[in-house]
């Protein structure tokens, strides 16, 4: 039996046109000699239309009319068939199947193809083990990235400017070496460098990507990072510095502003008009503002505090914190004051993200950590809808949120989820 000519591997493109054009392509265009990974062996299969009932008749026809030497699998009852045992034959009938393998040249096989024949002739295919098929690498992600679906979203915040208004940023952090970062310090006598850590952590959640081990911890990993330092290295800042940061971010066309900061608010206290006016200004310029609901509650002790300022402003999205079991974090504040709602919830307990070098990364908790999750997801939505207004982005964030069994006073519309491609 003529040995098959095998290549290493081949794949046909999965294209709808392939099936309909396959025969035509094979007959008219395909040149096996030029294909390093051929589709066919150079041998042919004769397939009886009526199955095995015509094996004897066809064997006689092949031998007498066309000069084939035909072996038959029925001859190998007591021993295992192998092609090396039938070197003298140029056809092998698989008796039970009604299929003959033909080891003749193409010219003879072409003559076998006649209209009205009770068999089909097809080229024998080369079968490959697809050992070079790239396997889907399993990406590791933090629990917050997984639960919000950020790792499954086709969006990355690409082209969207996100402002993190906080304690600055470690510009030398290796996880961000490939990123474009625009920064400004509004703290007198302090550079943008983050000697606290909080700002670097929040930037990492909203806009970071992977650590050196491939663990993804950032949401909008292709967003354009704008970082404003409005809290000093001890972690405090004047209201004017924060308003400076908001104004700077808005004037730089940032579409999302993330404020993981605040001042404690007491029951009955009204929201701050200055922050509200700044947020309205941001909205009027196309920016969504998100802020931390605050960590003053101690739910395990039945102590509940109202949403902090500026998150309590009507024009700012207030974000509460959840743990990995989607329970409200012990410290997360509640909507107690009129207008001071919790709008959304996001991962905020044991959150892994970047921290200034040499520490590199740290796991901490707070509504400060939940806020940049929402900021990053808002950036993804802005990428999905470049012309989306702040009000439409906010509406969709709430509509897309996973409803939770907890009170809306604690989780708002629910767990913020990353946008997926529309069906």
């Amino acid at each position: 039996m003529k040995p098959p000519i095998l290549g290493q591997q081949t794949f046909l493109r999965d294209h709808p046109a392939t099936a309909s054009t396959y025969d035509k392509y094979y007959r008219e265009r395909y040149d096996r000699e030029d294909d390093p990974n051929p589709l066919f062996t150079g041998r042919y299969l004769l397939i009886l239309k009526e199955g095995s009932s015509n094996v004897l008749k066809t064997t006689r026809m092949l031998e007498s009319k066309w000069g084939f030497t035909v072996a038959n699998t029925a001859d190998f009852v007591r021993e295992t068939l192998s092609e090396s045992k039938i070197r003298s034959a140029n056809a092998l009938f698989y008796n039970e199947l009604g299929i003959a393998l033909l080891g003749s040249d193409k010219t003879l096989v072409d003559r076998l193809i006649t209209p009205g024949a009770d068999y089909l002739i097809e080229p024998e295919k080369v079968v490959y083990i697809p050992d070079d098929l790239p396997e889907e690498e399993e990406k590791r992600s933090t629990w917050g990235i997984r639960l919000t679906g950020a790792d499954r979203s086709p969006y990355s915040g690409k082209g969207v400017r996100v402002a993190i208004i906080d304690t600055g940023f470690d510009l030398s952090h290796p996880d961000f070496s490939e990123r474009v970062i625009t920064s400004e310090s509004f703290v007198p006598d302090e550079t943008i460098e983050d000697h606290h850590g909080h700002g670097t952590h929040c930037v990492g959640i909203a806009c970071g990507s992977d650590d050196s081990e491939g663990m993804r911890y950032g949401v909008a990993n292709e967003a354009e990072i704008y970082t404003a330092k409005v809290l000093n290295n001890q972690g405090s800042g004047a209201q004017a510095w924060i308003l400076d940061g908001i104004t700077w971010a808005v004037n730089n066309q940032c579409r999302v502003l993330s404020l993981s900061l605040g001042s404690r608010v007491y029951p009955g206290q009204r929201y701050d008009m200055a922050y509200e006016r700044a947020a309205q200004y941001a909205l009027s310029k196309g920016a969504v503002v998100v802020a931390a609901a605050g960590n003053d509650s101690r739910r395990s002790r039945h102590q509940y505090s109202p949403v902090s300022s500026p998150a309590d402003c009507p024009s700012i999205l207030a974000v509460g914190a959840l743990d990995e079991k989607l329970q409200v974090a012990d410290f997360s504040n509640r909507a107690l004051n009129k207008g001071g709602e919790v709008d959304l919830a996001a991962p905020g307990v044991a959150i892994y993200s970047s921290w200034p070098m040499p520490t590199g990364h740290r796991t901490v908790s707070g509504t400060s950590m939940a806020t940049p999750f929402v900021a990053g997801i808002a950036a993804m939505l802005c990428e999905k809808q470049p012309a989306g207004t702040p009000s439409s982005i906010v509406s969709q964030l709430k509509e897309m949120a996973k409803r939770l069994s907890q009170l809306p006073e604690d989780v708002g519309a629910g767990l913020t989820l990353a946008p997926m491609r529309d069906e």
Partner: protein, 81 residues
Amino acid sequence: MRQIVITISDIYLDQLGTLVQSLREDGVIVTHFYEFGVIIAIADETVISRIRNRKEIIALNEEQEATIPPPEADIQIFPDE
């Protein structure tokens, strides 16, 4: 002297510059003002009492300080803890 934040009414937004000048003449030390109608300033109690009820002003508060906890805290809680 106290650090204050003044928010002016929407309808006077286009007169922000004039209002800032007027407040300065009234003894207010204006340190920042923003086009969205917020003025950061320093003033003593007498001045604050005098300007508090001006028709252009809808809110006058002492400037808040925003804070986060020290970096060593595992829960990045806000102040007063």
